[in-house]
Amino acid sequence: MFKKVLVANRGEIALRIICACKELGIPTVAVYSEADSHSLHVRFADEAVCIGPAKSYESYLNIPSIISAAEITNVEAIHPGYGYLAESAYFAEVCETCGIKFIGPAPEIIDLMGDKARARARAAEVGLPIVPGSELIEEENRDEAPRFAEQIGYPLIIKAVAGGGGRGMRIVRKAADLEEALATAQSESHSAFGSAAVYLEKYLVNPHHIEFQVLGDEHGNAIHLGERECSVQRRHQKLIEETPSPIVDDETRARLGNKVAQAMRDIGYQSAGTIEFLLDEDGEFYFIEMNTRVQVEHPITEMVTGVDIVKEQIRVAAGLELGYRQEDIALTGHAIECRINAENPENFRPSPGTITAYNPPGGPGIRVDSTAYQDWLVSSHYDSLIAKLVAYGRDREEALARMVRALDVFIIEGIDTSIPLHKKIITHPEFIKGDYNTSFLERIGVVK
């Protein structure tokens, strides 16, 4: 096992990793920006190194600074958490070059999964269902577009190959609109990314966002830990997740889960990761992407499987075999997570400031992952997630009841939080029935 680990992150995930290391008996080094000198991840690590000023790109994204911190503290490995450098193939490579183990998959895998087109192609190769799509459409084969479109069917979506952030994207609902939409998308893509290459893809109406948790090791083992239902989203930001999904049955879970695990073995995936799918109204799953890191919402999977995902991730990074075979994994009970953000619950504007009272809920079935505390200044420099509230119950009904009462007794004063929004969602009749997809928050009027 590693003699010392540096945690290249902040906030709740940094503390989560420190706790995992403590349980494994591994001393830890925290890194922090000047704005985070009073953070709990700094307080609870065995050592802490200030790596730069408040701005993330000068501190938490500052690779030389983080590597230097690792060198002066003689760590054997770096855990990147999520966000920041967690999916930087370059950072993983630098770690490797410096003789420091990056706790995550190999740089090539990060690289592969970071490229949507390549990831999609590889997923198809290893047998995962992908959204039906066309070949690349460039200037020379633009007249083939209608034929591609017929094969896929309408509605479809035009996506820029180099795209991101919605630019170069167009939804096309009928054949008559294709020509114009294509022209707009191509010119948008060209001006935004310097390439007019686009492709067509089946457009999924109001899909579910469902993801599978996987774990792999370097000995050829890979397992899945079931799925998470993540359809409660606001502008592609997940707000509430639960497992099992109310609409995935045991047979589907086993079938798709085993396919996913086999895919990971084929790819040679050697860490914790998440395979994201869209599930359309016809019950078809389509691979959309893979996150090659620990996920914000990993705790709900931990609650129903009993597997400590972060500890397993560290163990396999140290070369050990996975502590579980697929047959050891059973989903027991139900878990839900609410992401408590420092934000106005109506207009969603961030609400930084000093927390004047803080008292998290406890009691049966409640787990809180947070670095918040009374008198803590929630900085405007970083994201607004201040606590992950997880409720577990023997069934969905009990988990929901516990979440409601936990939200009721969660005291956070001095700043606005999303707690009132969560209460509204969790007690909504359609949510209670489990009848929701990614359009849910818009449909109930929470998001305009």
């Binding site: 190194v49 200030c50 000023p53 600074s65 230097s68 060198e71 002066i72 503290t73 004047t356 008198d375």
Partner: protein
């Protein structure tokens, strides 16, 4: 800050003869003025006069950077290992008493196997070297005290 803390404060101020007390702590502002003549008989005994302004901070916060007079604290601009000499047996870039000018190299910080020359951003006299040769330093760690001139 709770009632017991305030009580302690008030008693403290009363017994100390402090005339005025102000305090601010995460949302709590406290001001106490005490203008009685305490047990003073007759003559104009001078009142103790103390103004306390307490800005509450947590114990682990490093002491305020002293910028008394014209002492400038030069801090590490990057994380790494601090060296006073360009190579093991060479002379130090500076020592106590050295005069440095702006942009003059005053130390090296090794980071990722690279020896970064660190330049002074002020001119003056090195009054104190705060880190030993070969020690690791974090971002913002005080390295030198320089009397500016």
């Amino acid at each position: 800050m709770d009632i017991n803390e305030i009580k302690v404060l008030v008693e403290l101020i009363q017994s100390s003869g402090i005339e005025e007390f102000e305090m601010e702590k995460s949302g709590v502002r406290l001001r106490i003025r005490n203008s009685r003549n305490l047990q003073v008989t007759g003559v104009a005994a001078e009142l103790p006069h103390t103004i306390v302004t307490a800005v509450q901070s947590q114990a682990e916060i490093p002491p305020a950077e002293e910028e008394q007079d014209d002492l400038y604290v030069f801090k590490a601009p990057i994380v790494g290992t601090f060296y006073l000499t360009p190579k093991p047996d060479a002379d130090a870039f500076v020592s106590v008493g050295s005069r440095v000018s702006k942009s003059q190299v005053i130390c090296i910080i090794e980071a990722m196997k690279i020896f970064n020359q660190i330049e002074s951003d002020v001119s003056g006299e090195v009054v104190e070297i705060l880190v030993e040769n070969g020690q690791p330093v974090e971002y913002g760690e005080p390295l030198f005290k320089i009397r500016q001139s």
